[in-house]
């Protein structure tokens, strides 16, 4: 059983409302205080390297200037983040995108809209190494 509150989290998201929702779910509902949020993906690596190495990075896929896949590639090139769990958050219902997420090296995916009830469970399952490629019904 993982203590989710003990981890450091980074969320990268360019939609202000989505950031606010995540803040509500993780901060308010789950009581996590170690969540850092980037409001876009510019100068990503510099900003990442200014942080403590996060345990979990949550990446929005559709964002600018670098989309989620590009950001993932950048992180994966730096060996310091080898043990970091990287999760895709996407509003897309496209199966083909899920396939791509898995192939490109994400550790898991959680679909938007995030469910307040389901999110902690899915997060925990991914951290335990389960294959979670969650697509909203």
């Amino acid at each position: 059983m993982h203590d989710l509150q003990a981890y450091h989290y980074l969320y990268v998201e360019d939609d202000p409302l989505s950031r606010e929702v995540m803040q509500m779910i993780m901060g308010t509902a789950m009581g996590i205080e170690t969540l850092t949020i980037f409001d876009d993906s510019s100068n990503f690596m510099e900003r990442l390297q200014g942080l403590m190495v996060p345990h979990v990075i949550l990446l929005d896929i559709h964002m600018k200037p670098h989309n989620g896949f590009e950001v993932l590639d950048m992180i994966r090139q730096d060996s310091r983040y080898n043990s970091t769990t990287i999760i895709a958050l996407t509003a897309s219902v496209m199966n083909e995108e899920v396939t791509q997420l898995r192939e490109r090296g994400f550790n898991g995916a959680i679909a938007k809209p995030l469910s307040i009830q389901a999110f902690p469970t899915l997060l925990r399952q991914i951290l335990e190494g389960q294959a979670v490629w969650h697509i909203a019904d």
Binding site: L17, M94, E103, S115, D137
Partner: protein, 613 residues
Amino acid sequence: MTTLLHLTPYLASLSISLAVGAYAWQHRQVAGARYFALYALFQASWTIGYVLELGTPSLQGKVLWDDFQFIGFIYSGAPMIIFALIYTGRPIKSTRRLWFWLSIVPVVSLALVVTNAWHGIVRGEAWLVEDTPFDVLYYDFTPAIFLMGAYAIGQSLYVLVALAHYFFKSQYIYRRQVATIFVGGLIPVLGGFATFGGLTLSGQRDVAPVTFALGNVVVAWGLFRYRLFDLVPIARDMVLENMVDGVLVLDRERRIVDHNPTFLRMLRLSKPVIGKKTEMAFSDWPDLLNRFGPLDQARERIEVPREDGVIAHIDVDITPLTDQHQQKIGRLIVLRNVTEQVEFQRALEQQKSELEKLNTELQVAWDAAKAADRVKSQFLANTSHELRTPLNAILNFAQFLAMDIFGEINDQQRDAVDKIIGSGKHLLALINDILDITKIEAGMMHLFIEDNINLHQELTSVLASVETMLVEKPIRLVTDIDAELPTMVGDRRRIRQILLNLLSNAAKFTAEGSITLSIKKRQTDILFMVSDTGPGIAEEDQQIIFEPFRQTEIGVRQMSGTGLGLPITMRLVEAHHGKLWLESEMGEGSSFFFTLPVQSEALLELMKTEAEV
């Protein structure tokens, strides 16, 4: 011994005649050869008659053998003439009829010879002159004998003239053969003149049989040397005359030695050209003369306008002709009309370039279609994202309100928040449906195939959702599901979607009664049935409901749904290589059936290729 010595020339002549005859007979399948054999046989009979006449001591016996010689003497002209006609290629309508006419004089003559004792027309009084070793038969020549001799010589002369004529007409390589036969025929004629002129061999003996021998020696040499019956000139003429290629033979001085009719036709020449210099004969074709006149060897394709103005394509092939000492003696020019071939090739090439053009166009269209596909795909992804992002915020914030995260809300507010959440979820479902059908119609729906789907596990969440829909309705949910179901291959989420669509339709349209879900394992697939006790579907509507955006009247009255659920469901089943059908009557409820394969190579293949996307 001396006797034999005296007979030697005649016996030699006899054997040569017989040998030549046998040789010709061996080649009797060659036109004319059998007549030459007959000719040789008549000459041989003449010689035999003469040898026997010499060898017979009595006057009576000698006269008898002299009579016998008349057969060869008077009859040998007939086969010789027929042979010459065939050899020189003269047209003969009927050999049999010709033989008949040529036989009239010999038959009459022989009749006179046989009956000579009564009338003495052919031979007057005969007597013996003593000589060593043979006595010689003498008799006075009558006018009849002179006439017969004239007839025989006339025939021989006719043959000689025909041969001479043919000599000048025929081509270089055949001339020696013709000349040889000519000389071979001439010698006996000279012998005949000599005989009538009184020339005798020593001892008063007849010169004619010896001239046959001489003539036959020449002919025999010609036959073996030039293989007369192996290659009859007429055969060569026939080939040349009927050839589709034009043939022209020139000598060293560029004079025309031979040509065939095709050659003249090809160059539209009508006047005879044999013997003319090429400059004269082809004065209408200065270009060709300039181009090919000096060439000993060439192989080129030229264009020649035909009479009707159409361009003919002709291959010109020039080869030098040499004699056995490799001395140049002329040139052989062959013209071959290749117009059809050239036109065929041209048509082929045109077709090829048209095909290539079409191919390029197709490639362009294909590329455009693929580009359009990418644009569409991108558009769908964007639309999905753009529509859902704000909707997600609406749903999430409404949820936060409902969970009292922003403080406790009163009942009226809660009711409003629940309606926001309900409508939001409905809108989300609509967006998903529209995106689904758009992807399906665009052929861009990809299944996310797994090969270890546990149906029971998937059913749990599906049935839970359906039960929440039925909470406030007097409807029983009945399940009849095989306890043991194999793990199956397919898209887990889409299979759930199929079941949920059919079950929620049943829940939507059924007022009371029951909804039954039955799942049965069959040999290679699984049969699903969702039936209800709803209003049923009229037969005329049973097709319509599977078309996008079409609903039945009852469906429209329901004021919910998009008319997309069934079309999507149908296509999802088909994408899984299953079948979907329905049985329904108005007032009797509806039963939807569908099958899904347990294992499917095609789907497993899709699972592998998915990984490459």
